[in-house]
């Protein structure tokens, strides 16, 4: 089912008082693909993310999520936790938001809250000690263990998340998001602060998530090596509007994109490119 859209953002606008952070933005993310949202600082990328994941209510426009079975959900109307729960959209944060006082394993268990709540009969059955809950809990621990193996943190499972190294925390946050078994995974600057080796490991992880699990990924990123290597499709923003989109190759050669990053205007960038190549 490749080539099908999982997320369509349609004329999204976000206003804060008098400031327009995002203006008339439209783009689509394809199923089982990695879509990157890039642009200079202040372009409005995190704002778009927050609109998609329900932390801001858009001032205008529509955001549609299409499930495997064809069901469409209007994200602009859902409250934040419902987006994660019903629309199966998971996210990570620019400043890592783990549960620092809980162990790595506990963090991954919290992610499976809704499944476990149902299995525990909304706590009551669990309180009595019904076997169905115990089985569900075992399964949840198995899933968590699986992910810990995948991100190479199995030996740190019982350590406090706050005690983990920065790179480990980033991977744990991704694993935690994946434990909600989402259809769309939104990552906000997952490579921030990672060195070259860690970035390469991250690229591998994201590609394996796409290839083996079939999860669609939308990511904001500044690290171009990661973006260029793993993205199937790139959307470029500047000052709240989309200025380019396409494959990594197309975007890399687009003078508009270069101009935006350099802070010059398009013609100058095109001229420099022509004279250089």
């Amino acid at each position: 089912m490749s080539g099908e859209t999982i997320l369509s953002v349609d004329r999204l606008t976000m206003r804060f008082g008098g400031i327009v952070a995002v203006q008339d933005l439209s783009f689509a993310a394809e199923r089982k693909k990695i879509t990157a949202l890039i642009g200079p600082n202040g372009a409005g990328k995190t704002t778009v993310f927050n609109c998609i994941t329900g932390f801001y209510k858009p001032s205008g426009g529509a955001i549609r999520l299409t499930h495997d079975d064809g069901r469409q959900i209007a994200l602009e109307r859902l409250n934040d936790f419902r987006i994660a729960k019903q629309a199966k959209v998971a996210r990570t944060f620019q400043n890592i938001r783990l549960f620092p006082g809980m162990t790595a394993l506990e963090n991954l268990m919290v992610a499976q809250h809704n499944t476990l709540m149902r299995a525990s009969g909304f706590t009551f059955l669990g309180l009595i000690g019904v076997p169905t809950y115990r089985d569900a809990e075992k399964q949840a621990i198995a899933l968590a263990t699986d992910w810990l193996k995948r991100i190479n943190l199995l030996d740190r499972a019982d350590d406090a998340a706050g005690n983990l190294a920065y790179g480990d925390q980033r991977r744990l946050e991704i694993a935690r998001a994946m434990c909600t078994e989402p259809a769309l995974l939104c990552l906000d600057e997952p490579a921030a602060g990672l060195n070259a080796r860690e970035s390469a490991a991250l690229s591998e992880l994201l590609q394996s998530i796409r290839n083996e699990l079939g999860t669609s990924i939308l990511l904001i990123e500044h690290d171009m090596s990661v973006v260029m290597e793993i993205s199937d499709h790139i959307v470029v923003m500047d000052h709240g509007v989309k200025i380019a989109q396409g494959t990594p190759q197309e975007v890399r050669d687009d003078p508009k994109v270069i101009a935006a990053y350099l802070g010059t205007d398009e013609d100058e960038a095109a001229a420099v490119m022509e004279s250089g190549s």
Binding site: F16, T46, N50, F55, F93
Partner: protein
């Protein structure tokens, strides 16, 4: 109609007193982000200091009322300011970088200390004083005999409040200290890096707040003719409600909120029931924080994710 007008006057006077206390809450919250639970009790201490100073001056034989008032005002402002300074040094400064709950619990503890301290030091009974500033003016006499009174005390309270507000606004907007305060409110670390003495600025905030609360205590003493060791608790919550209503962090808001609370409390007592007037005030706090958390003059905050 006349009854209404009288309640209006009474409400504004009560509101001025609440406003003076509210300024202390809003300043401290703006600069260190904590609710100073002990502030209401500072107001109470101010009232007590004023009372005792009065007694001493009168028994020393002074009779010139303006002189007495001036001395009492200065003495109670000075000593109460020292209380505010001391409390900040002992109970809040060591906890400035601790976790959120610590200064709050420390403040609650300090509040208990102050209440019990004055109860132990001066006894648990209410302390009355004879009316000090007698007389007033009849504004209007209605045909059915109801008289709208504006007493001299009421005039004094409002005038003092206006004067103090003026001095204070000048202080915040024109002086170096005011600038330092506003800088610390925005970004403490940056202010420190730019040479602002953050410790001293915060101390001065507490000192000024306490001084204003002392004035409120003196006004309360003159207006109601008594002080008791428990008056800080309820007045404190009402004044904090006023600060929130006006928009926490906003000084004109604190005064506006104070007047609003004073009016609401007075009208509620006059037209509905006296017993439940405190319930009305507390309910306003809840209602405001639910529907209008930034208050009337505050700035709306967008949650950063």
């Amino acid at each position: 109609m006349d009854y209404f007008a009288q309640q209006l006057i009474n409400g504004l006077v009560l509101g001025s007193i609440y406003g003076l206390i509210a300024i202390g809450y809003t300043m401290v919250y703006g600069i260190v982000g904590m609710i100073n639970f002990a502030h209401g009790d500072i107001f109470m201490i101010g009232g007590f200091i004023a009372l005792i100073t009065f007694l001493i001056l009168v028994s020393l034989g002074l009779t010139a009322i303006p002189v007495i008032l001036l001395v009492v005002l200065l003495v109670s402002m000075a000593i109460t300011a020292l209380y505010g300074w001391t409390i900040e040094r002992i109970a809040y400064r060591p906890l400035r970088h601790s976790f959120r709950l610590a200064p709050m619990l420390s403040a609650i503890g300090m509040s208990f200390v102050l209440t019990n301290y004055s109860q132990v030091a001066q006894g648990a009974r209410v302390k009355p004083i004879p009316p000090f500033i007698p007389g007033g003016h009849t504004l209007h006499e209605s045909p059915d005999g109801f008289v709208i009174q504006l007493s001299n005390i009421q005039i004094m309270v409002v005038l003092t409040t206006i004067v103090l507000l003026g001095i204070f606004t000048w202080l915040v907007s024109r002086t170096r200290l005011g600038r330092d305060m506003r800088a610390c409110e925005q970004d403490q670390t940056m202010a420190a890096l730019l040479g602002v003495d953050v410790d001293r600025t915060i101390s001065m905030t507490f000192v000024i707040g306490a001084a204003l609360a002392a004035v409120a205590g003196l006004m309360y003493l003159l207006y109601y003719g008594l002080v008791d060791f428990f008056m800080g608790f309820v007045a404190g919550i009402k004044a904090f409600t006023a600060a929130v209503l006006g928009g926490i962090g906003s000084l004109p808001g604190a005064m506006l909120g104070g007047l609003a609370i004073g009016l609401i409390e007075t009208f509620w007592s006059a037209y509905f029931s006296v017993e439940y007037k405190d319930v009305a005030a507390f309910s306003i706090l809840i209602v405001v924080l639910i529907f209008m958390p930034t208050g009337l003059l505050g700035r709306p905050e967008v949650e950063k994710v």
